[in-house]
Symmetry: C3
Subunit: 346 residues, 3 copies
Amino acid sequence: MWLKNCWYVAAHAYDVTNTLLARRILNEPIIFWRTTEGTVSALKDRCAHRLVPLSAGRVAGDVVECGYHGMAFAGDGRCVAVPGQDGVPASARVRAYPVVERHGLIWVWMGDAGLADDTLVPNIFWMDQPGWAVSKGYHHVRADYRLVGDNLLDLSHESFLHTHTIGDDVVVNTPVKVDVADGMVVRAHRDMPGIEAPPFFALLLGSDEPIDRMQTAVFHPPSTHMTLVRIQPTGQPDRLLDGRAIHLLTPETATSTHYHWGFARSYHLDDTDLTEKVRLATTRTFDEDAVMLALQQEGVDEEPDGPFPRLALRVDAGPVQGRRLLGMLIDREQASGAVLRVADLP
Amino acid sequence: MWLKNCWYVAAHAYDVTNTLLARRILNEPIIFWRTTEGTVSALKDRCAHRLVPLSAGRVAGDVVECGYHGMAFAGDGRCVAVPGQDGVPASARVRAYPVVERHGLIWVWMGDAGLADDTLVPNIFWMDQPGWAVSKGYHHVRADYRLVGDNLLDLSHESFLHTHTIGDDVVVNTPVKVDVADGMVVRAHRDMPGIEAPPFFALLLGSDEPIDRMQTAVFHPPSTHMTLVRIQPTGQPDRLLDGRAIHLLTPETATSTHYHWGFARSYHLDDTDLTEKVRLATTRTFDEDAVMLALQQEGVDEEPDGPFPRLALRVDAGPVQGRRLLGMLIDREQASGAVLRVADLP
Amino acid sequence: MWLKNCWYVAAHAYDVTNTLLARRILNEPIIFWRTTEGTVSALKDRCAHRLVPLSAGRVAGDVVECGYHGMAFAGDGRCVAVPGQDGVPASARVRAYPVVERHGLIWVWMGDAGLADDTLVPNIFWMDQPGWAVSKGYHHVRADYRLVGDNLLDLSHESFLHTHTIGDDVVVNTPVKVDVADGMVVRAHRDMPGIEAPPFFALLLGSDEPIDRMQTAVFHPPSTHMTLVRIQPTGQPDRLLDGRAIHLLTPETATSTHYHWGFARSYHLDDTDLTEKVRLATTRTFDEDAVMLALQQEGVDEEPDGPFPRLALRVDAGPVQGRRLLGMLIDREQASGAVLRVADLP
């Protein structure tokens, strides 16, 4: 159910310091920390000796020291010291995971370390590049990451679930155009010209003028979603506001997801008050998603068999394409070990 | 373990309003609500699209609207609207359950809807008929409904568990007479003449005179229990007080039970203070049962095999007859699909 | 995984009174209480009738009365009364466990009652003999008792886990000498002359002079551990302070342990303030163990297969011998039913 040979977001860069951060990814317990030089290491969070979590220990210089008997492991997983004896058993090591820090995020490679290639990190430069102001956050979602992905490829749910921020009747009543670019990127687009601005957009615009709203959901498998959030006062393209919601879905377990996100905008860059208001509104919106997704997961847990969704409605065109593409890539990896090469985002 | 083609109590009538009530019955999640005309509908609490609970949505007029994508379902289970598209897929429906409102209770038919027959609702008119004042309540019990039923057919436990309200040594020391009327109704009777009144009966009588106590447990399978609670000052039949405790046991899961109850009396009808005092005393009494039954269930969970009860004591004459009858009816239904026709209560 | 024909500590003597104490041992629920003569009885905590816990009932004279229907059981497990009937069914009994009170502890025999022999109770006289002052306590540990035993046979962990009380770098850096006395008692010894006193030892000594520390871990299978805690101001054997930490590990379930303990000292016998300070310091120390052991159990639960410990380090000499001996004894009992005869502690 998971693509292995690819980069997953483990944390926001600011979450990883010189103390240990423990996080389960693809159901493997992992610790992350920064060495004295600032680079990030990742090891399996389980001592090679007695299986205690290394996260109950501490960082000592550039190594991790187990809290139980002091075995020390370097960032490459090798044991470098066993207190109480001179030598180190050859088999004393824990799994190390390739890590890259990029775009303000920590990425971890969960498959064959020999295939790790940092050119394969999705190019989501909006997260930390000059010219963009970003509101960031994290949600823990008690649902399969594929349900979270479906949610992002079918934004018609905004009309029912997010009426306090981004939703109105227009969304669900506007037909969505879905295409698959290069056989690799699913896009679902809606144009909504001349509408009353839902509250979140009035906030961005600083007024309640009618707007033209252009919404595009983009999915790069397995885990990178982006929502293009472009609005302008109706008929005034010179006043276009260009925003990008970046959604990074990392499976924690088969039924839970780490959801790191950022909302990047290319306007009002110095308005830190707006940055905070966007963060709060987005947090509220994704809180609503998290509740509904967890309820959905309970239904799936109780009735696991059968097609999903049970009925493919018109609004499911995006999710159906997304799941098809993802399933195909997982099948391909399991059959041939081929590594997914990700195209640039649009 | 459950009879299917019969009516189970889902709720007190006052619990079902124009908002959604979610309740699991025979391990199926169900929602209940009143239409604008006041009739009650019941649907499976799981959307036909993505399996989210419909109880996370809302009632809109006479239909239920899913909170995720707005699919609307009528009380008969048919989908009547899919926002974002014109047609409705033919297969878009959820299971509807026949419902009857009677005797101040909402009854749901869990088996073949084509066999639902409202003349089969147990005639427990005491719950809402003029001439009776009723104290009502609900307990959630973490035990198999058969354990709750055993508890009601062997009232000797009052002597140990309910000494603050209805129990004294007399109950367990008085032989119980058990018979099965019409091969269909189990009755267990005790006469206890000339006894000191336990606190609950002194409350009913408004004095602490000696009383004659006549106790009859009645069981109509699968789920209707009644306790005839008749007392009189010793030797004074002209001062007889006639009460009925009605116990309605609806399986929630294999190990939990919805326990709706009422205590109906034919005297002091306008004494609302007495109605409340009876409610409080009964709540306390059934709280004591709920604790012991949950502990019993834990024992059964840990040692599921073997006869039950492990030892059939003299006091088990009622429960043994009740379980025999219930088991026979379940076997019959599973073999032939025959519908149980309930006799009138005594 | 458990030796059955042996005595396990069920409780401190002061925990068992004339009311019911419920405790699960080797995954069997048991109640303990004192009769009017002061002797302790132990019965399975499950009524022979309906499987409710007898611990929900009460002691009445020298029998236990079930809280549900009043069945009364004597300390030998026989039912002596069934309220509501004259006779008692021949099969109405619950399992009784042999019990001995000795050394300030209540011991229970979990195997064949016919083999129970009170001369087999480990002779840990330090717990209640004149000439010794004892600080006592109890920890519930969410880990297999074998992990707790490993912890006591490899005290090098003090250097990492207990730096606030008994640990320093000296412990792990001092080689441990392990032997198996009489093929039946594992001992692991460290001499640490001329060291700075860790806080707990400065407390015992009442000064921060340098000390000679002599530490011996002793294991009598299956469940009795002792740590000889001997210190003296460096080079002054006439000022030797002799202490014994007694650790009594009783499996609750496969993954949890009752840990009764005492710290006995042969000096400053009347210093009740010291007794309390020792109790607090020991409680803190074992709290630290309990946290680490529970984390270790989680790792073992998730990766149950393979040798344990995964790597046998030099510090594991004690645990390896302890597990080997314990495994041999369990195999022997299961093969031949032979009863373990425990040698005296050193």
